[in-house]
């Protein structure tokens, strides 16, 4: 189980990158919208949600890969 937890770190890093790509693309479309609400929503996703999800998942994945989440004996 410890090995699974460790190597799943790669999945969390990849997930962070994928979500970042997908959300950035989508929010850029929203920022170009005619509707004010869509534009604000696009900026919120780009400036708030994306950094938290991408940065957080990549860092979490790195810590998992480093074995930081090993169960205590």
């Amino acid at each position: 189980m410890e090995q699974v937890k460790k190597y799943l770190g790669i999945i969390w890093i990849l997930l962070g990158i994928y979500v970042g790509y997908e959300r950035i693309t989508d929010s850029l479309i929203k920022i170009g919208s005619d509707k004010l609400e869509d534009r604000v929503f696009g900026w919120v996703v780009l400036c708030v949600l994306v950094p938290i999800v991408v940065g957080g998942l990549i860092l979490f994945g790195k810590y998992a890969l480093d074995g930081e989440y090993k169960s205590k004996e």
Partner: protein, 521 residues
């Protein structure tokens, strides 16, 4: 004799604990009440402060919705969390209470856009930002304070009283608004009566401040302070050290993000879906949610207490798993209850009602209501409103709305379907305060637990209705372009909570320990 003394001490301890829980819960409930009345009165506030024909006011309105409701909360968690770890829990959550109550009261006093122009929406936005900051600081303080008083092995039970406040705050806000509306009448309520729920806040906050002032500082914090072991820089210690940052990330991705989306789906998206996708009329839709909230509230305490025996992890993860697997069938059933295309209409019974109303500005409002009657007692009204400014001009573009009134059986089935979702909320939310408190040591607890909580709830959870609505809009567009390309576009919004809760479930299952007892550290 010693048994008698032990019993007397126990009684005093229980009394103290009861006072601690009451003082913390009442204050937190009032903060939630303050926070929710703004959202519940959004439609009226927009006419008073944010006229749609003014682009600046419209921008400020959108910022007030997004910024204060969601984005500012984590900043409040950082500011007040740090303060709580430096000067103490008691004084910090007194400050948040004063800020929240003061800003809510002040919103009730601001003259409308018609009187002071641009200043009105600007002041409302500023006060809404203060509300968001205060809310970000309140919860962590209350949860930490209660947990640090609670006896070992009972923290889940005692902190679950704090957990009921978010739901009860919503319930009280809906109740006060409806009572005020009934007392002053709909027209006067739109004119000035909406200010009453805001102004009332000052009395509630005053009472809560008096109660909280009498409380002593948390015993664990006082002990740490007397030993000179307080953190000198809680922010750096919480987020600058890998040893603690890894726990903050685990709390976010293994618990609070999933908990946030389950919470917002069950309490807020459900109401929005019933009103917008099912078109259930205003009072009935609010009644459905209010009854479900009230009936499910005791389960916060049930699951909080249960988590003391079997652990926080299995209950929170079970709540997420139930949401993941049952949201689509639940929402499909909700939709089918008002899906008029599947119901037989009694066409001969249809009625048309036309009403002309002269408005204050001299224009004429024409309201045409077509009432359709369906099998089983369901009634649907198509309401078309047009405004004619003067007799020679063309009427405005018609504004169309639909209002469905459910028969008794469908009404109670809807209550049950929302109740089930709120029970999921109680499973993920009931034990989460104890879980977060136990994850971090006393010296940086307020800071460390507040941030993942408010990112999980404010950002992951708070954006649920917006992201879900955007997903539904995209699916509806795709369906219009290629008919049948998306089978049930109205269910597409659920992918956001399902995927977030899914990732959170896997991370929680693999990485979370079931028992973590760092409260006394």
């Amino acid at each position: 004799m010693s048994t008698h003394r032990a019993k007397a001490k126990q009684a005093v301890d229980n009394r103290t604990l009861f006072s601690v829980i009451s003082a913390s819960s009442v204050g937190t409930l009032i903060e939630w009440y303050d926070f929710y009345i703004f959202g519940s009165l959004a439609a009226i506030l927009s006419t008073q402060f944010f006229p749609k024909d003014n682009p600046t006011a419209a921008l400020l309105s959108t910022l007030a919705t997004f910024a204060a409701g969601f984005i500012v909360r984590p900043f409040g968690a950082l500011v007040f969390g740090r303060l709580g770890d430096l000067v103490g829990r008691k004084y910090t959550f007194l400050v948040t209470l004063v800020l929240m109550g003061g800003s809510t009261f002040a919103i009730g006093l601001i003259p409308g856009y018609a009187s002071i122009g641009f200043w009105a929406p600007l002041l409302v936005l500023l006060l809404r930002l203060i509300q968001g900051l205060a809310l970000g600081g309140e919860y962590g303080g209350a949860a930490t304070y209660v947990a640090e008083y609670a006896p070992e092995g009972r923290r889940g039970y005692y902190t679950s009283f704090i957990q009921t406040t978010a739901t009860l705050g919503l319930f009280v806000s809906l109740g006060v608004i409806m009572l005020t509306r009934e007392s002053v009448g709909v027209d006067k309520f739109s004119e000035w009566g909406w200010r009453i729920p805001f102004l009332l806040s000052i009395i509630l906050v005053g009472v809560s401040i008096v109660i909280r002032m009498r409380m002593a500082e948390s015993p664990l914090f006082s002990k740490l302070k007397s030993e000179g072991n307080l953190s000198k820089n809680p922010l750096a210690e919480s987020f600058g050290k890998r040893q603690n940052l890894k726990l903050v990330l685990l709390a976010l991705f293994g618990a609070t993000a999933g908990q946030g989306v389950i919470w917002y789906t069950g309490q807020f998206y459900a109401l929005s879906f019933i009103q917008k996708a099912c078109n259930v009329e205003f009072v009935q839709s609010n009644m459905i949610v209010a009854i479900a909230l009230l009936a499910a509230t005791p389960f916060f305490i049930v699951f909080g207490g249960w988590s003391d025996r079997i652990g926080r992890k299995p209950i929170m993860l079970a709540g997420m798993a139930l949401g993941i697997f049952t949201y689509r069938p639940i929402y499909d059933k909700l939709y089918s209850l008002t899906d008029l295309s599947q119901k037989q209409e009694f066409v001969d019974a249809q009625t048309i009602d036309r009403k002309l109303t002269k408005q204050d500005n001299g224009s004429l409002l024409t309201t045409m209501t077509t009432t359709h009657f369906y099998e089983g007692g369901l009634i649907a009204k198509d309401i078309e409103k047009t405004i004619t400014t003067n007799p020679s001009s063309q009427p405005s573009k018609p504004e169309l709305t639909k209002a469905v009134t459910l028969p008794r059986a469908s009404f109670w089935l809807m209550v049950l379907l929302v109740f089930v979702q709120v029970v999921y909320v109680t499973m993920v939310y009931g034990p989460v305060a104890a879980f977060l408190v136990e994850l971090f040591p006393t010296r940086i607890r307020y800071t460390s637990m507040s941030l993942p909580y408010h990112i999980g709830n404010g950002i992951f959870g708070g954006l649920t209705p917006f992201i879900a609505t955007a997903l539904v809009a995209t699916a509806t567009k795709a369906n219009e372009a290629v008919p049948g390309s998306v089978a049930k576009p109205y269910l597409e919004g659920l992918w956001y909570p399902i995927l977030v809760a899914g990732v959170c479930f896997v991370i929680g299952l693999l990485y979370l320990n079931n028992k973590s007892e760092r409260v006394n550290e």
